[in-house]
């Protein structure tokens, strides 16, 4: 029987357009990669995504700002098994939500949905995962950003669970 586990990797981005090469060692008991999650944490003052100011404004779609792109591959295997933009908080959590009051307006922290991992089904081919992260935050924020990226890789292990 397979059991899911997670390995985490964090790195910091501080320059516009910075590219970071990643090498993440897979545990020996990792059998298959089953998911990827990413998250960012700002290390400088940045305004949070604004909540809709009025009922009419809640029908305006706002897109989550992209801070970078992440690509993952395994040594010895051609191509990439995962490529996805890394985005900040959901800016449209208040879309169509006219429940806002002066003191309680839709925000990702209070109204957000479950954030689930991007599912994968990648057999383990090597002991390492190679990654490439490229910062693209300037186009969305108009400023250099200093932030930490957290990468969580879900994998399956066939080792039995402790009793």
């Amino acid at each position: 029987m397979a059991y899911p586990k997670i390995i985490s990797h964090q790195f910091t981005i501080s320059a516009k357009g910075e590219t970071r090469h990643l090498q993440i060692r897979l545990p020996r008991d990792a059998h298959r990669l089953i998911g990827v999650e990413t998250s960012i944490r700002m290390l400088q003052a940045v305004s949070p995504a604004p909540a809709p100011a009025s009922f009419l404004q809640s029908f305006e779609m706002a897109f989550a700002k992209q801070v970078g792109t992440l690509r993952l591959s395994q040594p010895g295997c051609s191509g990439q098994f995962y490529s996805c933009p890394v985005k900040d908080e959901n800016a449209s959590v208040g879309y169509g939500d006219f429940s806002a009051t002066d003191t309680f307006s839709p925000k990702d922290a209070t109204h957000g949905f479950h954030r689930l991992e991007d599912p994968l089904n990648v057999p383990r081919q090597a002991a390492l995962i190679l990654g490439l992260y490229q910062d693209t935050s300037f186009s969305g924020y108009g400023q250099n950003l200093h932030y930490t990226v957290s990468l969580h890789i879900w994998y399956e292990t066939l080792n039995p669970k402790p009793c």
Binding site: Y3, P4, K5, I6, I7, S8, Q10, E37, S39, R41, M42, L43, Q44, A45, V46, S47, P48, E89, V93, D97, K107, D108, A109, T110, H111, G112, F113, H114, R115, S150, H152, K161, P162, C163
Partner: protein
């Protein structure tokens, strides 16, 4: 007869950029843990600043540094869907360990807050 019970464990976060580790004990009649959720009295601080590692019976469910925002569910989520599904975790010795870490985020200012860990369990 098996029943579903929700257990809640609290950690008070009193200082910024610190780790808070606490062990909790499940009731002896709990036979498996099937869901986990995390909440706070200050959702924005938990969302932007929080990360935690969670162990049950010394088995790591989530490693340290796993952001709290990845386990949170807001008011738009059905009550039946707020818990993150686990695969019938055996409680073993019944000890739940959570190491919560508060880290500065440029979008928030720190003030003391409470972090609550909820476990959806099956009890005999």
């Amino acid at each position: 007869m098996k029943t579903r019970v929700k257990k809640r464990f609290d950690i008070l976060v009193t200082q910024a950029n610190k780790s808070f580790s606490q062990d909790f004990e499940l009731d002896k009649n709990i036979t498996s843990v099937i869901g986990i959720a995390i909440s706070s009295d200050k959702d924005d601080l938990l969302y932007f600043r929080g990360s935690q590692g969670v162990e049950v019976n010394k088995e790591e469910l989530f490693p340290g540094g796993y952001e709290s925002k990845l386990l949170m569910a807001g008011v738009n989520v059905s009550p039946n869907g707020k818990y993150y599904q686990l695969d019938h975790v055996n409680p073993g010795n019944g000890i739940v360990k959570m190491v919560y870490e508060d880290t500065d985020d440029g979008r928030t200012s720190f003030s003391p807050y409470r972090v609550s860990l909820y476990l959806d369990c099956i009890a005999e």
